[in-house]
């Protein structure tokens, strides 16, 4: 069975806030087709302060779905609605000390139920902006929708291309057949044919499949040159990030650490950690030294500590 953290088990065996809140004034009902999980979240919101006084859940689903629902109600109680809207699925997963990649969608379902409940309270219509696909690469938790979008946006043609852009397939190789099936499907939609026998040719790579080539650093750089180089690498990666609805901006470089502002879909999405790892990898390749990439939000904490 799954390797669940103790916190997941604790919330599953002793769920908090199970059942519907009696005089609820906000309800969110969402489901995830994968796993067939479904969740109804009910809230009692103070009309004056918009503080969530009570939260209750009813869940049809597996252990991690129940645990995600339970921990969500604990997180949001006492928050204002605006604060609650900032809760990400990663927050839910973190609070549970992590979820297996196949189960991350349980935390997404929690966040969606919360958004749906708040929209319901405010008399708005909630629309799901998140499309979930079958999990293809289990090593790096990449789903089919993500791969399809990347293949479309970046004219990818081979499994190797897909691995370069998404990391999918870069681990155990078990999903290579599935990735080929996606390539075949998307290329057919574009009126092209997938040819499994071609490997990405070096010139193709430069044209389409890998971010623009940047000369690797060979000689020692001044601090300014170094920052410029880092900037250059980041710039070259931005088209790929933007294709996925996100963006990244270099904020500061201190020693070996580059602080990067992640915005758009990258921010708080479950892929953020992976994206950062990708940027870091690329930076190290070009710079030829160890570079740590850290979200800029972490820097504030750091600076505060130094000042205090």
């Amino acid at each position: 069975m799954w390797d669940y953290s103790d916190t997941v088990k604790e919330h599953f065996f002793n769920p908090k806030n199970a059942g519907a809140v009696a005089d609820a004034n906000a309800t969110g009902e969402v489901g995830s087709i994968s796993c067939g999980d479904a969740l109804r979240l009910t809230l009692k919101v103070d009309d004056e302060s918009e503080i969530i006084l009570e939260a209750g859940f009813q869940t049809f689903g597996c252990g991690s779905a129940i645990a995600s629902s339970s921990v969500l109600t604990e997180i949001i109680k006492g928050m204002t609605l605006d604060e609650a809207l900032k809760v990400t699925n990663q927050d839910i997963a973190d609070q549970l000390e992590g979820l297996p990649p196949e189960k991350m969608h349980c935390s997404v379902m929690g966040r969606e139920a919360l958004q749906a409940a708040i929209a319901n309270y405010r008399g708005e219509e909630w629309r799901d902006d998140h499309e979930e696909g079958a999990l293809i690469c289990k090593c790096f938790a990449i789903d089919a929708v993500m791969i399809e979008e990347m293949v479309w946006a970046n004219k990818l043609r081979t499994v190797e291309d897909v691995t370069n852009f998404t990391k999918a397939g870069g681990g155990c190789a078990a999903c290579h057949e599935d990735i080929e099936a996606i390539l075949e499907k998307v290329l057919a939609e574009k009126g092209e044919k997938f040819d499994p026998s071609v490997c990405s040719k070096p010139e193709d790579k430069q044209k389409a499949a890998t971010p623009e080539k940047i000369a690797a650093v060979k000689t020692p750089l001044t601090n300014l040159q170094r920052i410029k180089k880092i900037e250059e690498v980041l710039e070259s990666l931005r088209p790929a990030l933007m294709a996925d609805g996100g963006d990244a901006e270099l904020v500061e470089v201190i020693g070996n650490t580059a602080y990067v502002n992640m915005t758009g879909a990258c921010n708080g999405c479950s892929m953020a950690a992976m994206t950062i790892a990708g940027i870091q990898q690329r930076l190290m390749e070009v710079m030829g030294e160890f570079i740590k990439v850290v979200p800029a939000s972490e820097m504030k904490k750091l600076v505060n500590i130094e000042v205090a």
């Binding site: 069975m1 799954w2 088990k9 599953f12 065996f13 769920p15 199970a18 059942g19 009902e29 969402v30 489901g31 995830s32 087709i33 994968s34 796993c35 067939g36 999980d37 479904a38 969740l39 109804r40 859940f57 009813q58 869940t59 049809f60 689903g61 597996c62 252990g63 779905a65 129940i66 196949e102 997404v108 379902m109 969606e112 749906a116 909630w126 799901d128 998140h130 499309e131 979930e132 079958a134 999990l135 289990k138």
Partner: protein, 402 residues
């Protein structure tokens, strides 16, 4: 109360007598059976005896019809690929929608290579329609492969009759009998079955040993080539200890076949009745009149299988589920879908599978906790209210699906 193992269709405990029979082949008679010295003296004899023990259990005519393989999956793959290689002009395969992935996976792959795969559907009780099967048989069909017993529901397919129909139409017939061998009596010599797969770990011998039965005279192409082992039909140095263990396990299974169909069946029946009587909105899936004696698959409506398993596990009870969540796939089991079991029930199916090591007192233990587990989870379920499902569950709770 020690832990209760009711997951014998997944795998079984190795019988102590089987372990004892194997030990000398690790520590004393560890020579290669092909060698000519005293470390190998007894090995060939051990293999011969094992072959005869398997022969006795499945009732085939010759012990040379037994080919030892590494597992049920290998036997299945060998059978299918052999049939198509021997008959290159036949480009169709008949199978069912509810086969084990070890069959379906190979067929899916062949489909990509241009083969036509006919997957027979089943009705709500998991039964096949033999009339439509008959119509599919033709000289374009390379192989019919139909499981003897379903691993999830225990439902038995009429493979003896189906093999006769295939034979009359001149079509080769294979059955995946991994779940059936050792649980129901069989006499292959009296059938028209051409090939049969079995797997040791389902009948109290170790994992990683299997058999492909190949009826004498049936055309064959090996999967693994090289050495002369198994008369060149399956190259690779014999897994001697496991083969001897499988032989012993077959002997024991034959001795216990009546016990399986009386005592083990009685335990299964009592558990099943007890659960259906004490847990509202639960029902048994599959063909109740035509089943393995050791298996029951029960759907608990409005709750989810993995959650049930986690609570059972906490109570020291091991079983399995056809729910999507336990497998990491996106859909509930293909067997439940093929039987058209509604989603709210298909996600909550639990399979209890017995062996001769279980006891009635264990059944009583499960019956003590099962109603509470269902009630606990239903309290959390949006489809449930008080002690009954909400009115019109599908409409009362209609979440936005992403």
């Amino acid at each position: 109360m020690s832990d209760i193992y009711l997951d014998n269709n997944a795998t079984t405990k190795v019988d102590r007598a089987v372990v004892d029979a194997m030990m000398p082949y690790f520590l004393e008679q560890y020579g290669n059976p092909s060698s000519i010295h005293k470390f190998a003296d007894g090995v060939a004899r051990g293999l011969k005896q094992a072959r005869q023990q398997v022969q006795a259990l499945i009732g085939c005519e010759h012990d040379s019809e037994i080919i030892f393989t590494s597992c049920g999956t290998e036997s299945n793959t060998t059978a299918i690929l052999s049939a198509i290689k021997c008959q290159p002009n036949r480009k169709e395969i008949i199978t069912t929608m509810v086969e084990h992935p070890a069959i379906l996976g190979v067929c899916d792959q062949l489909e990509k290579d241009g083969y036509t795969i006919h997957r027979l559907p089943v009705d709500k009780c998991g039964r096949l329609n033999l009339e439509s099967y008959k119509k599919m048989l033709s000289e374009n069909v390379a192989l019919v492969t139909v499981m003897w017993a379903n691993n999830e529901t225990g439902t038995l397919f009429p493979v003896i009759e189906m093999a006769e129909l295939a034979n009359a139409a001149g079509v080769m017939f294979h059955t995946d009998a991994v779940q059936a061998v050792g649980k129901i009596p069989m006499m292959l010599a009296d059938t028209k079955i051409d090939m049969l797969s079995l797997s040791g770990h389902k009948l109290h011998s170790p994992k990683g040993i299997g058999v492909l039965y190949l009826r004498r005279g049936v055309r064959y192409r090996p999967l693994l080539r090289g050495g002369h082992q198994e008369r060149g039909r399956r190259a690779g140095t014999e897994n001697t200890a496991s083969i001897v263990g499988l032989g012993k396990a077959c002997e024991l299974a034959l001795q216990h076949i009546e016990f399986e169909n009386t005592k083990v069946k009685a335990m299964r029946d009592r558990l099943e009745r007890g659960i259906i009587d004490s847990v509202p909105h639960s029902f048994v899936t599959g063909d109740l009149n035509n089943r393995l004696p050791n298996t029951t698959d029960i759907a608990f409506e409005y709750i989810e299988g993995e959650s049930i398993l986690m609570l059972l596990n906490k109570a020291g009870i091991a079983a399995s589920s056809g729910s999507a969540c336990t497998s990491g796939s996106l859909e509930p089991s293909h067997v439940m879908r093929a039987m058209d079991i509604p989603y709210t029930a298909a996600h909550g199916t639990i399979r209890f599978s017995f062996s001769r090591y279980n006891s009635m007192s264990e059944v009583d233990e499960v019956l003590k906790v099962m109603p509470g587990i269902a009630a606990t989870l239903r309290k959390l379920s949006p489809y449930w209210s008080g002690d009954a499902p909400v009115a019109n569950p599908e409409q009362a709770f209609a979440p936005t699906y992403s």
